[in-house]
Subunit: 191 residues, 2 copies
Amino acid sequence: MTQDSTFGKILIIDDEKDNTEIIKDILEDVSYTTMLARSANEAKAIVAANTFDLILMDVWMPGQDGISLLSEWYSEGLSTPVVMMSGHAEPSDIVKAMKLGAVDFLKKPLHDFLPILRNIMTRKEPEKSNQQVSGIDYSLKLKEARNIFESQYLLHHLSDNDNNIAVVAEIAGLERTTLYRKLKDLGIDKK
Amino acid sequence: MTQDSTFGKILIIDDEKDNTEIIKDILEDVSYTTMLARSANEAKAIVAANTFDLILMDVWMPGQDGISLLSEWYSEGLSTPVVMMSGHAEPSDIVKAMKLGAVDFLKKPLHDFLPILRNIMTRKEPEKSNQQVSGIDYSLKLKEARNIFESQYLLHHLSDNDNNIAVVAEIAGLERTTLYRKLKDLGIDKK
DNA sequence: ATAGATTGTTGTATTTTATCAACAACTCAT
DNA sequence: ATGAGTTGTTGATAAAATACAACAATCTAT
């Protein structure tokens, strides 16, 4: 984003050649650097070796689908904004993608997507730094307040994931069995 | 939710009579209490005079649309979960609704919506009663989110106590020198 | 200037948290 | 019924956090 004359580096993930070529051309015409991936596996390898300012990803692809990859990336702590796209998305897919952390969802074929992407990449920075935790009980000692915080963090993820310990442990970045102990220590009855 | 034999009170906001009657019948068959509103204005009046466990609202209505009302309600601090519905929603509408705080988005005509609503109303409760901390960035791993939490906790006490380490350590229940290390680890420059 | 108090850094011991590993108990598909 | 997979518990060990202790550096009142 700071090099020569490009405004950002974008990864386009989609198996439809026509669609990706059009998007690629449009973006490169206005000086964005783009890379293409045709599958989730290809995308993973590229993201492991590169840093992008934005990822534009199709929902339906051969092999692993986009929503699943989105979940995987964000649970691994990926910070790159991801925009999902699809030609025939059900509301439930869109809701799911948004809940998983997608920053937007575009309908294919894409129209007027440039300002949207530009806006995301422009504001990406301030939005992140505004994240504030509120409602902290400052009358408590750090450890007590921290326990409340952790309880809520974990309860949130439990309720979002059908109380699935293995999944929540993955999301939280904890070893599975640690989560069992933690829930017990925090007095959280998984049910 | 605590009266006679109903499981919850639901407000249905939609101008399509057929649609609302069907939903109403289904919900009441399983002992939910429902009320209907045909417009945003009617809904506002009803919500001002009643408490609901869930609001089911159409996007397109005569007068003010559902998304706009959603925005208005949540910016006013409404805590009732709102589920949006629409027969012809664009992804952009769904994204907008989710970003404004809708808890889900259903496609009309509604199919199998009962478990979805039930799930929302079921998990709403534990979350509500524990609500003390908010604004947690759930996309982060526990450790990262915790660091943000602790930073805020400590910064708050530092600014309330003239950056006095000894005092803040006492308040936080930490050993004084531990606080020096912690501030350094959290990247907090005492000044 | 000086003594005493406070602030800040660091080594080490202790405690707490988390991982790794193993296995029992349970669930589910066949 | 059975095997595979998942869930839940627990011991041992590693890693991280915190307390205890010491001392240098700085500040403040006299």
